[in-house]
């Protein structure tokens, strides 16, 4: 699958849907998109890895960096990665990325949000 980052919205929050293989060759694309979103300091941001076929350590590091940047901008970051996407979910679990950023099965409402 061709790598792509699609900008969508989930419950009114900006969302980045990452498709294809997130690795050392493609991670800069995600970094650019994340920076573009966070520069506006949104209240929330969703990074959706449901359709991400593969993630290497560079990709994981980018998620960690994203989480730290989001903390700086006061943005509630949420990573969506269902258990069914085991190639990516296992990497997240091994690294225990969920201790840094909420990793959820599907994009959920965060506190104080009203669904759209």
């Amino acid at each position: 699958m061709q790598f792509a980052v699609d900008r969508t919205a989930v419950h009114g929050r900006p969302a980045l849907r990452v498709r294809g293989e997130l690795d050392v060759a493609t991670v800069a694309r995600l970094a650019e998109c994340v920076e573009a979103e966070l520069s506006a300091a949104p209240r929330g941001l969703v990074v959706d890895l449901t359709d991400t076929a593969f993630m290497d350590s560079s990709g994981a590091r980018q998620l960690a960096r994203t989480a730290k940047r989001a903390a700086e901008t006061g943005t509630a970051l949420q990573v969506v990665c269902p258990r069914s996407n085991s190639p990516v979910r296992l990497v997240i679990d091994l690294l225990e990325l969920d201790r840094l950023v909420p990793v959820v099965e599907t994009a959920a409402l965060t506190d104080g949000e009203v669904g759209s």
């Binding site: 050392v24 800069a28 590091r61 960690a64 960096r65 990497v91 091994l94 690294l95 201790r99």
Partner: protein, 723 residues
């Protein structure tokens, strides 16, 4: 509907209309007999004498006849109009030939506008003014001004055709109160192909009264041939009613046009309009206007070429300046292109530019959104590198018409994903009506300039100004210079990181009593240094700490982080507080000194005296413990990867290596393979460790052979056993 009118116009037999305009009369006569064969119905009125069945010898005075015969003996194209007065009325007699007949056209001198001798005396000055400008704008501006001064039309425009025959008004001279048409565009359909073909050979057309009633030719078919008379070369030729309707809709009451021809190809037109009734410049003034058109035509090529050359030279000079700026700061080429007083956006005319170097994107001016740029550039690169109609040529970019109808992209280096790109907006956005459309004096009929503009807008929707050859060349040259700078730096980085990596590997495995060791490091085949490291740290109490780690990322920066982590972990382990405490300390160090970095590591501290192993794992793949022919993944003693959280307390796992047991640590390069789920990779390692008998080095080699890892990442495996 417009299209019907235009289709009719395109089919119109414009060369053989069978009629003439009423401001003169036409007689087609035989040669050398000069017998009248075809005559316009108004001939008797204009000439003041009956023409049917007569010869020109009957109509002209002997002296006039002599001058006519002298003219016929020479080149008709060079013949001056003959001033004659057959019925006592002064007429200009114009000559041409068509279908074996001599076509004579008789135009009354009275009623024609005369610029007079004063203008003609100014001709040398006018010619000098025409040849002075070094830009096309200058040349066409002078041309419009002088043609209007000569002919007295209310408005004189210079049109230029593009490659698809759409026209643009590039110069204009007009009465002050008139709405400006400068910058307006017209679709190719406004001037049908057959009319353009006629214009390329016939330099001047005149319609002194756009409301005229055509005068038929009699007989309609030339006797003996059965065909209508071809009027291509006749000045009185009656024009298409569709064209008259077009003029009427623009409020034009009289019009004239002079062709501009560049090396045999119709380049444009000088279009003249009157809005206040009939207007007929004299034959002499028309000849002078045509002369100006022909002179300007000759100058077009050199003027355009000179302007192009100036432009190309300027672009090349700016390319050289940018390349020099990159040369001065080879480690930060992007800054040289983006932050200087001269930026990559100044290289050539464009609304926006993008620079991507080392995976970092910089945008200047008006560009597609950051998250779309890479996709746009990749698609354009695949399609050849330049497009002036992105959304028409490539699918998926329909929303980028406004800012990126034109894209010029060049790759920097190869396969690194680095590039330079320039963006041009959709053309219609560069064009505006000169006046307020709501107060227009122009009628909005079926065919009108406003409708034309709307139609033209449709034909160019989604297209941008084309990229010129010298612009593409300059972009490629700059990318070439950048590529060299980046390559030179990358080669230096590779050398450095390979040297650094060598310092991370052990020359020789340490000899620790009671421990047998095996290790294998295989660098990535992708020719980049990865972030793997391993270490064997003998501790003061006789224990041995075995480390296997992996820093996220590749290349020089990963190698330098790896070196720092390896030494920091060594120091922490030598404090002898156990693997978990050492990993906590390392995690803290990353947070404090290497923010943004991430690594995984597993540490197994082995006591040869007892076989006891204390193991802690920070986000790394689980170690494999093989005992009695069964492999087990050590999944406890785990905590998060290093660098994720500020403070972590890692747990420890405890196990015991019996004689004959093996413990294997490895990096993800061993098991990670696209298309194979990670659990299957782990399972394969577990089975391979259990299956291979022998010393730790044999186990390590056997596992690498069994897993046969893909070459994209570096592979590190360390095995130990109790002896």
């Amino acid at each position: 509907m417009d299209t019907d009118a235009l289709a009719r116009c395109a089919d119109e037999p414009i060369a053989v209309p069978g009629a003439v305009q009423p401001h003169g009369a036409l007689l087609a006569v035989t040669e050398p007999g000069l017998d009248v064969v075809v005559a316009s119905a108004n001939a008797a009125d204009v000439l003041g004498a009956e023409v049917t069945g007569r010869t020109l010898a009957d109509l002209l005075a002997p002296a006039e006849l002599d001058r006519l015969r002298a003219a016929l003996a020479g080149d008709l194209a060079e013949a001056e109009p003959l001033r004659v007065s057959p019925g006592g009325r002064e007429l200009d007699l114009l000559l041409s030939r068509s279908g074996g007949l001599l076509v004579t056209e008789w135009e009354p001198v009275a009623g024609a506008g005369q610029a007079g001798a004063a203008w003609h005396r100014r001709l040398p000055t006018v010619l000098q003014r025409l040849s002075a400008p070094t830009s096309l704008e200058g040349l066409t501006g002078v041309l419009a001004r002088e043609v209007r001064a000569l002919t007295g039309f209310d408005r004189v425009m210079v049109y230029r055709f593009d490659a698809e025959w759409n026209g643009e008004v590039v110069a204009e001279d007009r009465r002050e109160h008139l709405e400006p048409f400068l910058g307006l565009h017209y679709p190719a359909s406004d001037i049908p192909a057959q009319a353009r073909a006629l214009y390329a050979t016939n330099w001047l057309r005149l319609i002194p009264d756009a409301t005229y009633t055509p005068v038929p030719l009699e007989p309609p078919l030339v006797p003996g041939t059965g065909r209508p008379l071809d009027l291509s070369g006749a000045v009185l030729r009656s024009v298409s009613p569709v064209h008259l309707e077009y003029l009427a809709n623009m409020g034009v009451t009289a019009s004239m046009s002079v062709s501009l021809v560049d090396r045999g190809r119709l380049w444009g037109l000088v279009a003249c309009h009157s809005y206040s009734g009939p207007h007929r410049p004299s034959s002499a003034d028309r000849t002078a206007a045509e002369f100006l058109g022909r002179t300007a035509s000759l100058l077009l090529h050199t003027t355009v070429e000179a302007a192009d050359r100036d432009h190309a030279v300027a672009v090349t000079r700016r390319e050289a300046e940018l390349a020099a700026a990159v040369g001065r700061t080879p480690r930060t080429p992007a800054a040289a292109l983006v932050d200087g007083t001269l930026t990559v956006l100044d290289l050539l005319p464009a609304a926006g530019a993008a620079v991507r170097l080392d995976g970092r994107l910089h945008l200047l001016g008006t560009t597609p959104p950051a998250d779309r740029v890479a996709a746009v550039v990749a698609a354009v690169l695949r399609a050849g590198g330049a497009t002036d109609r992105l959304t028409r040529a490539l699918p998926g970019f329909a929303d980028l018409t406004e800012e990126a109808s034109g894209v010029l992209a060049v790759e920097v280096g190869r396969g690194r994903g680095d590039f330079l790109a320039w963006f041009r907006p959709e053309t219609p956005r560069e064009v505006s009506w000169g006046g307020d459309p709501h107060t227009s004096k122009v009628t909005d009929g079926r065919l009108s300039p406003r409708r034309s503009f709307a139609r033209w807008t449709e034909t160019v929707r989604g297209t941008a100004r084309p990229w010129r050859e010298h612009e593409v060349a300059a972009a490629r040259a700059l990318a070439g210079h950048l590529g060299e700078a980046v390559l030179a730096r990358a080669a230096e980085d590779d050398r450095l990181s390979a040297a650094l990596q060598r310092t991370l590997l052990l020359e020789e495995l340490p000899k620790v009593p009671g421990v047998a060791l095996g290790a294998r490091y295989r660098p990535s085949e992708a020719d980049v240094v990865g972030g793997d490291w391993y270490d064997l740290v003998p501790l003061p109490g006789g224990e041995l700490a075995v480390v296997l780690g992996d820093v996220a990322g590749h290349g020089l920066s990963a190698a330098s982080v790896t070196a720092q982590l390896r030494h920091a972990l060594r120091a922490a382990l030598l404090r002898d507080e156990g693997p978990a405490a050492a990993l906590s300390a390392l995690n803290q160090l990353i947070g404090a000194l290497l923010p943004g970095e991430m690594a995984t590591a597993v540490v197994a501290q082995f006591d040869p005296a007892t076989g006891a192993v204390v193991l802690a794992n920070a986000g790394h793949l689980p170690a494999v413990h093989a005992a009695g022919g069964v492999g087990r993944l050590v999944t406890d003693g785990r905590g998060p990867a290093l660098g994720l959280l500020d403070a972590v307390t890692y747990p420890q796992a405890e196990l015991r290596l019996a004689a004959g047991d093996r413990l294997l640590l490895y990096s993800d390069g061993l098991v990670e393979r696209r298309g194979r789920p990670l659990p299957e990779g782990l399972e394969a390692v577990r089975e391979a460790v259990a299956a291979v008998a022998g010393e730790p080095q044999e186990v390590v080699d056997g596992v690498v052979a069994a897993l046969d890892p893909a070459g994209g990442d570096d592979v590190t495996v360390v095995g130990l056993a109790r002896v």
